[in-house]
C-alpha cells in the first residue's frame, strides 16, 4: 500500500494504492493528520480491498470531520469496495463522489 497526500488550502486529498487491511491500516492511520482540514477526500480508485480495520479509519475520519464541521468524501470506490461499504452500512454516512 502506498499513500499520496495532496494539500490545497484546507483541502486534503489522500490517494491510496493497494489493499487497506489489518497490516496496512495502521500505516495509513499514521499518514492521516486532519488538523485544519475542512475538506477531506479519499481517492480509493486504486484500492481493491478494505478490511474492517480500513473501515474503522474511514469511520474515525468521518467522526472527526463531523466534530470540526468539515466534510469527508470517498472517490473512485470500485465495485467490491462499494459492496463492503454497502453491507456495512457505511453508504449511509459517507459521501461518495
Amino acid at each position: 500500500m502506498t499513500v499520496e497526500k495532496h494539500i490545497d488550502g484546507d483541502s486534503l486529498t489522500i490517494a491510496v494504492d493497494g489493499a487497506i487491511d489489518t497490516v496496512t491500516a495502521p500505516e495509513l492511520q499514521r499518514e492521516i493528520s486532519l488538523d485544519g482540514v475542512k475538506n477531506l477526500v479519499f481517492d480509493i480508485s486504486k484500492v481493491g480491498y478494505i478490511s474492517s480495520a480500513g473501515l474503522r479509519i474511514f469511520l474515525n475520519c468521518q467522526k472527526s470531520m463531523l466534530k470540526t464541521g468539515g466534510k469527508m468524501a470517498v472517490s473512485g470506490a470500485n465495485e467490491s469496495v462499494m459492496h463492503v461499504f454497502a453491507i456495512t452500512g457505511f453508504t449511509k454516512i459517507i459521501h461518495y463522489v
Binding site: 474492517s52 480495520a53 473501515l55 474503522r56 469511520l59 474515525n60 467522526k63 454497502a86 453491507i87 456495512t88 452500512g89 457505511f90 449511509k92 454516512i93
Partner: protein, 585 residues
C-alpha cells in the same frame, strides 16, 4: 532488540582466543625475559671483571706504597747508590725496580742499568712524579700496564717523596713477580667473592689447571678439582677471556668470563638461575593477569548467560501463563455461547435452531446468541467484532450481553433495543472497535421475522421449494460506530419449511491458498444443497468452507446460525388448530 546477545558468545571461542593469546604472550615474554636476563647477566659479570681488576690494582697500590715508604725510611737520604745496593733493597721488598731522583728531578740511582738519563720532566710517564718534589702530591701511583720496553709484561709503579722534597723514590713491580707471592691477595680478596646472589669467583693455582678449593662452592659440587673437570676447556678459556660466554660449570649452565691475573686464571661464574626469578616474574605475572582477565570474562559470560537463560525461562513461564490465560478466556468465551441443541426443547418442534462458531485463533470476536422473548418469539443474533484477539473477545462479551439484554428486555421493540445497545457500546473512551450484527426477532407461531442489519452480511433465505436468496434490506451502520445511528427494522415472513441462514464474513471471505474468496455464490449453493434442517445447513456450509480453503490458515472467525420453520411444525400448528376446531365442533 540488542544486535547480538552477549551471553551467546561461546565461552569456547573466548577460550580459543585466550589460549592463542596465552601462547603468544608466553613466547614473546619468554624471549624478552631471556634477552633481559642475558643482558643483566653479561652486565653483572663484566662489572665484576672490572671490579676484580680495580681491586687488584688497589690492593697492590697499598702494598707498593707501604714498601716505598719503608724503603725511603731505610735509605734516609736520596743518594747515588750503586746498582748493587739498589738491587739489594729491591730484593728486601720483593719488587722488580727501584729508582731514586734528586731534588732537581734527575735520576741518581736505579736497579736498572744503565741509569735512565732522561730527566723526569722530559718523559710523559714520569712527569707526574715531579708533584712529589714540590709537595703538591703525597703519592703517585699507576695501574698495572704494559711498558714500552716489555709489552708482554704488565708492571705497576708507585712513588713517594723523601721528606722535605729532597728527592723521590719510585718503586715498580711486575705482575709476574706479584704472582709469586700473591696467594694472600687471592685468599683474602678473590676467594669468596660473590657475583649477584648465586654467582661466584674461582681461581686456579699459579700456572696450573688446578682449582684452588676455597669457599667458592656456594652449594655447588666440590667434585671438580681442575678447570677441565669442571667442564671449562682451553677453547672456551680463550673465548671467555674477552667476553662473557655461556658454558656448563660442573654441569650447571652458567655465564662465564675468565680474568687472568698474576699467573692465575680467575673464573667469574654466574649461573643462569641468577635471573630465573625475574624471568619467571616477567613471564608469569602477565600470564597470570591474562588468566585473571580470562576468568573474569568467563565468569561474566556465564553470569550473563545465566541471566539470559533465567529471562528466557521467565518469558516461557509468562508465555505459558498467557497461553493458559488465553485458553481459559477461550473456554469462557466458548461457554458463553449456547451449545446445547435444541436450546429450547419445549419449542423444538416449532422452530429448528442451530449455530456454531469456529474462532480463527483461540479466542474470537464473533458471537451468536438466542433468547426467548415472551412465549412465541425468539431473539437471534449473529455478530462480528471488527478485530481479533483478546481485546476483540472482551468487547465481544460486552457486545453480546448488551445487545441481547437490550433487545430482549424491551417488550420486543427491536429497533429501540438495538439503538440502545449501540449507544451503550459507543460509550467508553478509546473504543476503536465496532460490531457488525444481524439481529432477528422471530415469531415462530406466525413466521413473522423482524430484523435489524447493523453493517452485517445479509442472511440467506432458503425457501421450502429449495430456492435461495439473500434476505433483503439496506444495512445500517455497525454497532459502536456512531452513537446516534438509526437502525431500521425490516420485516418478512417465513413460510413452513423456510430456512434462514445467518453467518459472519469469515464464511464469505474465507480464502484458499491462491487468495480466492469463498464468496456469495458458493454460500448460496451450499445452503441450497444442504438437506435437512438447521444443523445440516450449518455443517454443510462449514464443510464447504473447509473443503474450499483446503488447509489454508483460517484468517477470520467463522460463525453460522440457521433457523428453520419445520414443515411439521406448521402441520402441528394446523393440526392443533384443526383439532381445536374439531373439538369445538
Amino acid at each position: 532488540m540488542p544486535a547480538k546477545s552477549l551471553g551467546k558468545i561461546r565461552i569456547r571461542y573466548v577460550a580459543v582466543v585466550f589460549a592463542f593469546a596465552f601462547v603468544s604472550v608466553f613466547v614473546l615474554l619468554n624471549a624478552v625475559g631471556k634477552r633481559y636476563a642475558e643482558e643483566k647477566a653479561v652486565e653483572l659479570v663484566n662489572a665484576t671483571d672490572d671490579d676484580v681488576e680495580a681491586t687488584a690494582n688497589d690492593f697492590y697500590t697499598v702494598m707498593l706504597l707501604n714498601d716505598a715508604r719503608a724503603a725511603v725510611r731505610l735509605i734516609g737520604e736520596p743518594t747515588a747508590y750503586s746498582r748493587e745496593r739498589m738491587l739489594e733493597i729491591a730484593s728486601i721488598y720483593s719488587v722488580d725496580e727501584i729508582n731514586i731522583a734528586d731534588r732537581s728531578g734527575r735520576w741518581i740511582a736505579s736497579t736498572e742499568d744503565p741509569l735512565p738519563d732522561l730527566p723526569l720532566a722530559d718523559a710523559p710517564a714520569t712527569a707526574e712524579y715531579l708533584k712529589l718534589l714540590d709537595g703538591s702530591a703525597e703519592t703517585v701511583t699507576g695501574r698495572f700496564r704494559a711498558s714500552v720496553s716489555a709489552p708482554f709484561l704488565r708492571a705497576k709503579y708507585a712513588g713517594v717523596p723523601f721528606p722535605g722534597g729532597r728527592g723521590l723514590l719510585q718503586m715498580g713491580v711486575l705482575e709476574k713477580t706479584v704472582g709469586e707471592t700473591a696467594s694472600g691477595f687471592f685468599e683474602c680478596v678473590i676467594d669468596g667473592w660473590k657475583i649477584g646472589q648465586r654467582g661466584f669467583v674461582v681461581y686456579s693455582e699459579k700456572d696450573s689447571d688446578r682449582l684452588v678449593s676455597g669457599s667458592w662452592t656456594n652449594g655447588l659440587p666440590r667434585s671438580a678439582r681442575t678447570l677441565s673437570e669442571a667442564g671449562i676447556d682451553e677453547k672456551l678459556f680463550a673465548a671467555a677471556e674477552h667476553e662473557v660466554r655461556s658454558a656448563s660449570f660442573c654441569g650447571i649452565p652458567c655465564w662465564v668470563k675468565v680474568h687472568c691475573f698474576a699467573g692465575r686464571r680467575i673464573l667469574l661464574v654466574l649461573p643462569f638461575a641468577e635471573y630465573q626469578d625475574i624471568r619467571i616474574i616477567l613471564t608469569f605475572i602477565p600470564l597470570l593477569l591474562l588468566a585473571a582477565v580470562f576468568s573474569v570474562i568467563v565468569v561474566i559470560l556465564r553470569k550473563v548467560r545465566a541471566v539470559e537463560i533465567a529471562e528466557e525461562r521467565l518469558r516461557e513461564i509468562e508465555r505459558a501463563r498467557l497461553d493458559a490465560d488465553i485458553q481459559m478466556a477461550a473456554a469462557i468465551q466458548h461457554n458463553s455461547l449456547p451449545h446445547s441443541f435444541p436450546p429450547f426443547p419445549d419449542i423444538a418442534e416449532s422452530v429448528d435452531l442451530y449455530a456454531a462458531m469456529r474462532p480463527a485463533r483461540d479466542v474470537g470476536g464473533d458471537f451468536y446468541d438466542f433468547r426467548r422473548v415472551g412465549a412465541d418469539r425468539l431473539l437471534v443474533a449473529v455478530a462480528d467484532v471488527s478485530d481479533k484477539g483478546i481485546s476483540a473477545a472482551m468487547f465481544m462479551m460486552r457486545a453480546k450481553v448488551t445487545l441481547i439484554g437490550e433487545c430482549s428486555g424491551r417488550g420486543g421493540r427491536l429497533g429501540d433495543g438495538v439503538a440502545s445497545a449501540n449507544r451503550l457500546l459507543c460509550q467508553g473512551e478509546g473504543n476503536e472497535m465496532f460490531v457488525t450484527a444481524w439481529v432477528g426477532l422471530f415469531d415462530f407461531k406466525t413466521g413473522r421475522l423482524s430484523y435489524v442489519i447493523a453493517g452485517h452480511n445479509p442472511p440467506v433465505l432458503r425457501h421450502a421449494d429449495g430456492s435461495v436468496e439473500f434476505l433483503s434490506g439496506e444495512p445500517d451502520l455497525p454497532l459502536a460506530a456512531m452513537e446516534d445511528a438509526d437502525f431500521t427494522v425490516h420485516e418478512t415472513r417465513l413460510s413452513n419449511g423456510d430456512l434462514l441462514f445467518a453467518y459472519t464474513d469469515g464464511v464469505t471471505e474465507a480464502s484458499d491458498r491462491s487468495g480466492s474468496l469463498f464468496g456469495d455464490a458458493r454460500l448460496l449453493s451450499a445452503v441450497a444443497d444442504a438437506h435437512g434442517g438447521a444443523r445440516e445447513a450449518c455443517e454443510k456450509v462449514v464443510a464447504e468452507v473447509s473443503a474450499f480453503t483446503s488447509g489454508a490458515p483460517q484468517s477470520d472467525d467463522i460463525t453460522v446460525l440457521a433457523l428453520r420453520m419445520p414443515l411439521s411444525a406448521a402441520g402441528d400448528a394446523l393440526g392443533r388448530l384443526s383439532r381445536r376446531k374439531f373439538n369445538l365442533s
